[in-house]
Symmetry: C2
Amino acid sequence: MNDLAPLPWHLTAPSFQEIEEAAGRIRGVLVETPLLESERLNARLGGRLLVKAEGLQRTGSFKARGAWNRLALLSAEERARGVVAFSSGNHAQAVAWAGRRLGIGTVVIAMPADAPAAKIDRTRGWGAEVVLYDRATEDREALGRRLAAERGLILVPPYDDRRVIAGAATLGLEVVGQAEAMGARPDALLVCCAGGGLTAGCALAWEALLPAARVFAVEPEGFDDTARSLAAGTRLGNAPGATSLCDAVLAPMPGALTFAINAPRLGGGLVVSDGEALAAMRVAFEDLGLVVEPGGAVALAAALSGCLPIEGRTVAVALTGANVDPAMYRRALSSGS
Amino acid sequence: MNDLAPLPWHLTAPSFQEIEEAAGRIRGVLVETPLLESERLNARLGGRLLVKAEGLQRTGSFKARGAWNRLALLSAEERARGVVAFSSGNHAQAVAWAGRRLGIGTVVIAMPADAPAAKIDRTRGWGAEVVLYDRATEDREALGRRLAAERGLILVPPYDDRRVIAGAATLGLEVVGQAEAMGARPDALLVCCAGGGLTAGCALAWEALLPAARVFAVEPEGFDDTARSLAAGTRLGNAPGATSLCDAVLAPMPGALTFAINAPRLGGGLVVSDGEALAAMRVAFEDLGLVVEPGGAVALAAALSGCLPIEGRTVAVALTGANVDPAMYRRALSSGS
């Protein structure tokens, strides 16, 4: 009978109106990141590639959108209690930043000990208390819930929350308006997918605004849980022990809410290798002048790999984060193009 | 008596109306590059730093502005004849790109043989015929004039032309509007300076729109001809044999027109070392997510070096180009920060 219990409100999909409200809430605080294109890339692909430069966002990733929208909706009483989040790095920085900007005194972030050093440093730099955990042996969600319970903090989930998804959806909303201003009508949008929050938000926004277009989730090899889950029609996890350079997009399995939103809406899931992600980072360097981290480059990597035909089409891709250590970036620039 | 002859029209300063017309001419063709800021950088400097991300411009530098404005103003007869330009790389790509986009059949570019390989390749990639010359022994202006005379081509100067300067000035125009939209009122603008066209254009635009603010020219060590000329009150050249990593901003001396515009208007000239330029490239990588080439980073380098006090002030800097070879970029990322 438990299955028949109504889902809690925050675990149901946001309305389009909530997405528009989130867009109003982030205005003037977050960056309306530019939608760019490269004539050289377009010529190479034989189509039109629109690139959302979301690495230029506050804290260097799209995560600032969901974090800001969620934290701005906290009551005064909740802000006084403080927040806790678990994250491989980008949600961590985003929650820490939003917390400081909103004057929230206590911000606790659980981060994997193998997260890029720059991400851990920057999260601390925004004044957050960082609790490190072992990605291989500890359950980050359980850790987050335990910290919330023990210290009376509000848990800010990285994706399975309608307010976080509504915030992420503003990226999809902006792309539609910016493409229109460029005289472009996209046939598809490719976004990176870990837990699926950005994908879900964009799928909802595009369903309302560009129903004929298709949204695709892009994942790194070994972490293609969403692609396999979409194909199977049910949530499947990743095999333990897999590794990837794309640290920002390594979730154990699709979220319950995000998968419920994504399953009936997505065009499918695409998968790229670490090598393809590094090559896409180099293309962003050479043809766009943009710094992109490995996980933030997977959607561009999918567009370049040919797994989705772009010839004669207009395809938007989100470059979702720029938080990469110099050593990893040098490696990407050394890779063949 | 020769001194009393009136200057040819193209060697006189553009009016503010011409700058506004240029802004209309580039709209929808060029990118209104974003004006960004980093809260981390602001905190470090104790002021507000507004960063014009002009590396995201078509062809990866501000040079597309002047090239487009000049070439769009060619008559049908002039377009049929074709154009020639001399350039260390960014003006080359810009003229080649604008020429192709306007359907100009003959575009000849004289480039120094030691220009970054990527700049030469990309100039050819836009369909231009590249003529290489020796930077140390050949006079590029004479070469450009000779090519123009021999082949009946229109010479497109890199800076000493009122239409090129009006195009470059649109960058300054945009910064004012974008800063206003961010609730910021800049006290100063720092721009890189080689021949002085961007500096002159911005000085004219800011004189009209923000007369209380100051515009500064920033140059690399060994190529501080504008700084010394401003101090001396007359045009001085650089000592022969100097070298710099900042390939984009190495002109032999200030232009006649640009110096006439700049001398009464600039706040002064600032000078940075190659090491400071490389460190600024790394800051742009870490705090802004932007790829910048050495010459495009000198204004940011000046802001970071402390040679102009930023504490309590609002200062805009232009990151003017992103065309850097991977090897040079890896070197910048290896430099201490």
